[in-house]
């Protein structure tokens, strides 16, 4: 299915879920309302016409405050359907004051570790995740390294870091 068709299908099934569409991007993506994400994830996976069986990648990004926008975090889900061979990017933008995003680990088990990584490096809190712990950094690490305003701490447990 082409991006426009996909979008039409999703809009018909879940009205109001898609806030923005970006067909012009290198990898076309849609912006989704946070509250609608769990329903949308199930639709994307289970609808035979969509059938996104593979979550290729789950990334988090930090979008620093600009003139027009406040400080935000984004969680991007890149999906692929092995049967229909179509791809879709799904993005959720969160305010960094309230970085809570619904977890999709129950829909695609591979999201488990990817969500832990995004939590670890960016501080996105995936609600409903079975075991949200740091994964790459030590459990007692301070801060989230991939945030643009991250400052490397001077010491870690008394050891100088430099």
């Amino acid at each position: 299915m082409e991006f426009a068709e996909l979008l039409g299908h999703i809009r018909a099934a879940l009205p109001g879920a898609v806030l923005e569409e970006h067909p012009e991007a290198f990898s076309p993506w849609i912006l989704v309302a946070r509250a609608q994400l769990p329903a949308l994830a199930l639709l994307l996976r289970d609808d035979p016409a969509l059938d996104f069986a593979q979550l290729m990648c789950l990334s988090g990004t930090h979008l620093p405050a600009s003139a027009s926008e406040s400080d935000r975090l984004a969680s991007i889900f890149h999906l692929f359907s092995p049967r229909h061979r179509h791809k879709l990017g799904v993005k959720v933008v969160l305010d960094s004051a309230d970085p809570a995003c619904p977890s999709v680990a129950g829909v695609w088990p591979t999201a488990d570790w990817h969500e832990r990584e995004a939590y670890d490096l960016l501080g996105i809190v995936y609600e409903g995740h079975p075991d949200l712990r740091r994964i790459l950094c030590p459990d007692d690490w301070e801060g989230h390294p991939l945030r643009k305003d991250y400052v490397t701490p001077a010491t870690y447990n008394g050891m100088p870091l430099d």
Binding site: S27, P109, R134
Partner: protein, 388 residues
């Protein structure tokens, strides 16, 4: 809370066993079969494993943070250091991603040479995987045979670009060096030599060894649905019988020009999707890679400058791209966000081994400790890529 308490707390395994009579066994980070610094926390009932909790991150360097301070050509050597067994493929993935964003067309010759080195590196990487898979099960000799043949490939790479492990060879828009004189013949001779080695040495000694089959058949079975759901890719996905290879199904570079077969597991000796199938797919793939190398060397243009199309300054246009390529371990994805400046705003790497490893708890429950070693060997992980 001091460090020790934290360590204990971090390692507490939720009691998922049938009763409280289970023992926690710490496998790694210093263990001979964890293929690097991986720590597995096994909850065991005698020799039987009730659950596994993997702990990763011992090699974490925050590659993605580095990328925010580097221009794309500077990032290429960093990609070498992720999957250090298949650096060419990592270079290639990043170069392809950047070229797609730039809309850059690279010369024909470069495309062919890229395919040759990528496939050679695939063979080298599979040789390590196969050798260590046998070594984990106590087969010492195949390991040395595999490494002997891998050395030859590394010698080629040394001759081509001066490095044996971390090449920085495939640049955005080109290559760092052309093939030296006579390299094609050497590689072709190696292909003939190596094909015979697979049939006459590796298969009788390891692949079809009764004990090796007994140790791997029916162990760590992954169904096709599970494989997709857990994000498995590469030989681990194809071992479950799914004929899906990005070189064919999401083509990049010039892979669509070659005749080759996507190898899948068939449950030849045990169950479909077991450790042996994942192993066997790698053996078959090495042969397909040889075939691709032969075709590419036969068709490649001889003349031309490999640095011809290398841009003086790589400035990625505004936008975001998720680009995936097939490395020996599976789907290597680069998610690049650019704001139009010299530096990318975000580079996220979807490492194949990272996703492949996350299934280990699911498929190891009820297996023996010895089976966990076999499963880990067949999943073929590289911690440099998992931890980044």
């Amino acid at each position: 809370m001091d460090n020790h308490e934290l360590f204990i707390q971090g390692s507490r395994v939720p009691d998922r066993g049938p009763d409280g009579d289970l023992m926690t066994l710490n496998m790694g980070p210093q263990h001979p079969s964890t293929h690097g610094v991986l720590r597995l926390e096994l909850l065991t009932d005698g020799e039987e494993v009730a659950s596994i909790r993997p702990h990763i991150g011992y090699l974490h360097r925050c590659f993605e943070k580095h990328c925010e301070k580097l221009t794309p050509p500077q990032i290429v050597p960093y990609t070498d250091r992720m999957d250090y067994l298949a650096s060419m493929n990592n270079n290639l993935g990043f170069a392809v991603a950047c070229e797609r964003m730039l809309g850059l067309q690279v010369p024909e010759k470069v495309e062919y040479l890229r395919v040759v080195v990528a496939e050679l590196n695939r063979i080298a990487s599979h040789l390590v995987a196969i050798g260590t898979c046998g070594l984990d099960l106590g087969a010492l000799t195949p390991y040395f045979f595999c490494f002997r043949d891998r050395e030859m490939i590394l010698d080629f790479f040394e001759e081509i670009c001066g490095a044996r492990l971390l090449y920085n060879y495939i640049w955005v828009g080109g290559l760092s060096h052309d093939f030296p004189e006579g390299m094609d013949d050497k590689i072709l001779r190696f292909c003939d030599y190596f094909e015979a080695r697979i049939d006459n040495e590796l298969n009788p000694l390891l692949s079809f060894n009764k004990i090796f089959i007994g140790r791997n058949a029916g162990i760590g079975v992954v169904s096709a649905e599970q494989a997709w759901a857990f994000g498995l890719s590469g030989p681990s996905l194809r071992g479950s019988g799914v004929a899906f290879d990005l070189r064919r199904d999401d083509p990049y570079s010039i892979y669509d020009r070659f005749q080759w077969k996507v190898c899948v597991g068939e449950g030849l000796v045990g169950q479909l999707g077991d450790s042996w199938d994942r192993y066997w797919v790698k053996v078959l793939e090495m042969k397909e890679s040889l075939s691709i190398i032969r075709q590419a060397l036969a068709a490649r243009p001889k003349d031309g400058d490999v640095r011809e199309a290398v841009p003086g300054r790589v400035k990625l246009p505004v936008g975001e791209l998720y680009c995936r390529t097939e490395t020996p371990r599976g789907e290597l994805g680069y998610y690049i966000v650019s704001g139009g400046g010299n530096l990318p705003e975000r580079v996220k790497v979807r490492a194949p081994a990272f996703s492949n490893l996350c299934i280990i708890d699911e498929i190891s429950r009820g297996a023996l400790i010895s089976d966990v070693v076999a499963i880990l060997g067949s999943l073929d992980i590289v911690l440099g890529e998992i931890d980044r």
